[in-house]
Subunit: 479 residues, 2 copies
């Protein structure tokens, strides 16, 4: 019998995004017979419509923005530097294709059976797949019924707009549209200042567009530490991005005109004014794909749009697990992968610690970058924790001065009673890489004193974390 002709599996993973394929690969590494069902392309939102293409564009934008410093760094440019957005878009797509191709080869390497089609639960241990045809035509390949001892649901999420505000792909767009386009607008209004909103606001500004950023809440990146929000808003404003917090407008009243969009926006309680731009980007969050996957044939529970799970990603139905954006929370690709790994080990009967969301890093790729692990200062206050806090500005870090990019700081929050580390918050150069240290620290329960006693290489940007940790006890060297 040819590989793939059996329909009986130890584990069927429904959804081939980062969480899904991590679960499938690890499950197979642990000895399970695994099928991975995906209706679109393996890699999911992150690879095809999220992290990867966005960061590719941001990398190009930062490349361009940094050229303004050429003379300072001792490089003479005899002519002008201009943005070739079509090439940026081509490179974005090349990066995605290259990684997609790598991923496809990993399916075979990990002995996972890839089933191209739309899967749906028919009771806990059965997944009916409407197969793609040979030409990848959805539904043209007939059907296949998979039997599974365990199922992991990983169907992800989709962009969500505001009531009355409908994307038309031209004037009112979502990140999906931006990541397909090969041209950029000269002016843009970004609605929503979460990770996606600030990344695009920052990127378009770097590329020379006129950018307005609207946020309903009183702070941009509202889930981050308030000092980080403040620092980022200051930086955006200084660079020339118009930031409106507590922004109020009627989504249904956004007017689409020939040359752009027009809306009337005011800060809460303040005077409203007319805003115009070539495009409006809706970056108001994502909705989990809980529909049309057969949850109603199981005891899986959905709460506020997300599948309910425990810390080992078990749903209310035995042998059915859910991971990734489907379970809400941070909705981050690396957390989805971690959840997938925890679920795979649990299914394979290999003991593993449940997932600790306070040890999950968050990373936002605006300029300056934002990254964090654990509790914010405002969360500590809400929980009534007594804190001691150390802050190290990047302008006191030699490597940041050398790099010419020294906005921001590292902030370490310690518990004044237990001595534990409660949170690490970074805003500044390369912090989406630097946060990995804090993530390992969180997993191992490292105290500020231990982080401080780890020798940080000199000169490096990582020194900011070490010095902030020292500053928790008033014992920093370089500040």
């Amino acid at each position: 019998m040819a590989v793939g002709s059996s329909n009986s599996f130890d584990l069927v993973v429904l959804g081939g995004g980062m969480g899904g394929y991590a679960a499938a690969f690890r499950g197979s590494q642990l000895g399970l017979k695994v099928a991975l069902v995906e209706a679109d392309k393996i890699g999911g939102t992150c690879l095809h419509r999220g992290c990867i293409p966005t960061k590719a564009l941001i990398e190009s934008a930062e490349f361009y923005a940094r050229l303004k410093k050429a003379r300072e760094f001792g490089v003479t440019l005899s002519g002008e530097a201009t943005v070739d957005y079509a090439q940026m878009a081509r490179r974005r797509d090349q990066v995605v294709r290259r990684m997609w191709s790598g991923l496809k080869s990993l399916v075979a390497k990990n002995h996972v059976e890839y089933v191209a089609g739309r899967g749906r639960l028919e009771g806990p241990g059965r997944v009916r797949v409407v197969l793609d045809g040979d030409d990848a035509q959805p539904g043209a390949g007939g059907e296949r019924l998979l039997e599974a001892t365990d199922v992991i649901l990983a169907t992800g999420s989709r962009v969500k707009s505001l009531p009355g505000l409908v994307s038309d792909g031209q004037r009112i767009v979502t990140s999906d549209d931006v990541l397909k386009a090969d041209r950029m607008p000269a002016s843009i209004i970004v609605v929503g200042a979460g990770a996606v909103g600030v990344e695009f606001a920052s990127m378009y500004h770097d590329l020379g567009a006129t950018v307005t950023l609207l946020e309903y809440l009183p702070a941009i990146v509202p889930l981050e530490d308030r000092d980080v929000s403040r620092e980022l808003e200051r930086s955006f404003t200084r660079r020339g991005i118009r930031v409106v917090t507590r922004a109020r407008f009627d989504p249904a009243a956004v007017a689409v005109e020939d040359d752009g969009v027009c809306l009337v926006v005011g800060p809460e309680g303040g005077e409203a004014g007319e805003l115009r731009a070539e495009q409006l980007l809706v970056a108001t969050g994502r909705a989990a794909n809980v529909e049309e996957i057969g949850l109603e044939t199981t005891r899986v529970e959905v709460e506020r749009g997300f599948v309910k799970v425990d810390d080992h990603l078990r749903t209310k139905e035995a042998h059915v697990y859910a991971i990734g954006d489907l379970v809400g929370g941070l909705m981050l690709a690396h957390t989805a992968a971690h959840e997938g790994i925890v679920a795979a080990h649990t299914i394979a009967g290999e003991p593993i610690e449940g997932i600790d969301y306070d040890a999950q890093p968050r990373a936002t790729f605006c300029h300056p970058q934002v990254a964090s692990v654990g509790l914010t200062e405002q969360e500590c206050e809400a929980r009534g924790l007594r804190t001691k806090i150390g802050v190290m500005p990047f302008q006191a870090v030699g490597k940041a001065i050398i790099g010419g990019d020294y906005e921001g700081f590292a902030k370490v929050i310690g518990d004044a009673e237990s001595g534990d580390t409660l949170g690490v918050h970074l805003v500044g150069p390369h912090v989406t890489d630097l946060i990995a240290e804090a993530s390992l620290g969180a997993l191992l329960g490292a105290t500020p004193w231990e982080i401080a006693m780890a020798t940080h290489p000199h000169p490096s940007l990582a020194e900011a974390i070490g010095e902030a940790a020292m500053a928790v006890d008033g014992r920093s060297i370089h500040i």
Copy 2:
């Protein structure tokens, strides 16, 4: 009595480099009355003739080298990019001045008394300082005799040449000369492929010079893991740097001519040939400044040119400590600072762990960068350790592809018996920052499994470490 008029201190630190000032600041933070004696400028080799000015030049060189990728990234340059080395040198000096000024203000902030002059022990608890005059003229300020309960020696090191090869500052130069110069040679022979040698070789190549790198040993960066040495040599060679390992030549026979230098070099056992270049850079290590500091008035022991200390930096003379380049070993600024902190706590009677050299990160800022913590594979073999090894190439890391810089890899060495992490070796983009995670891991005794279970942000370069750690047990996701 004015501050500074008393000559009696709890702690006198002799030498104001990074180790010295870290010891002085921390000592004062712990309640000690501290004097810091420095004959030159606070900041020492690292700030004035080492890490900082070097990295500033390297940053400029990488800025220039990266412009070759402009078109790929979607940036059109209408003209030519050229190197303005004089401006690179000005920026280098500005960076140094800025950090120097910051450091000077930290002396006052930390209530440390700064004594400008040349200090010398007169027995264990006495330091005679020949003071600078008001115009910073050495010796013009008379003398001052300091009494100290404890003394920390931190007089650092100086560049060392080969027998018969004398720097003339023009044709035969050292890093000291390069870091003062405001022009660069069109061609250069670099002698010695340790950290300093490969950094300058890489930098000059990036700036367009013709570079030959000579190394006596069979590998460049010979103290690093052999796979790292190999990868770096491959990268250098591919870029067009001529690398000669097992290089043999007579240092005394180097000919200085009107337009450059000429020497006859051959690989060991191979045929020798004539090499010519505008300059020859001697990067063959550093000698500790053990002379003329009065060691003979104490029981301090010197062995092979370095002061002998225990893991709390105690010399053989009670109450006399030594740190930094003076004690040899890694001769790195951040290790000197760590040693200074350990010594300060010990003197203040605050219990602290002794220094663990296997937890000290090493960082080299060539392109690609090199960084490591712990044992190399060859050291593991020499100690008879059974290992299991995981490797993650950066070309499988999304963020590296996005950055367009994906040479190199992360290599994690685990102990097959104990399960401990023995070493982490990185070569590739931004690894001098990424190594901080491994450094914290080493301090806390993190196993490869724990490093793997720490969630690494996606997409980030730090994923390389997480995946290499997973690969130790054959369980990586992305390779």
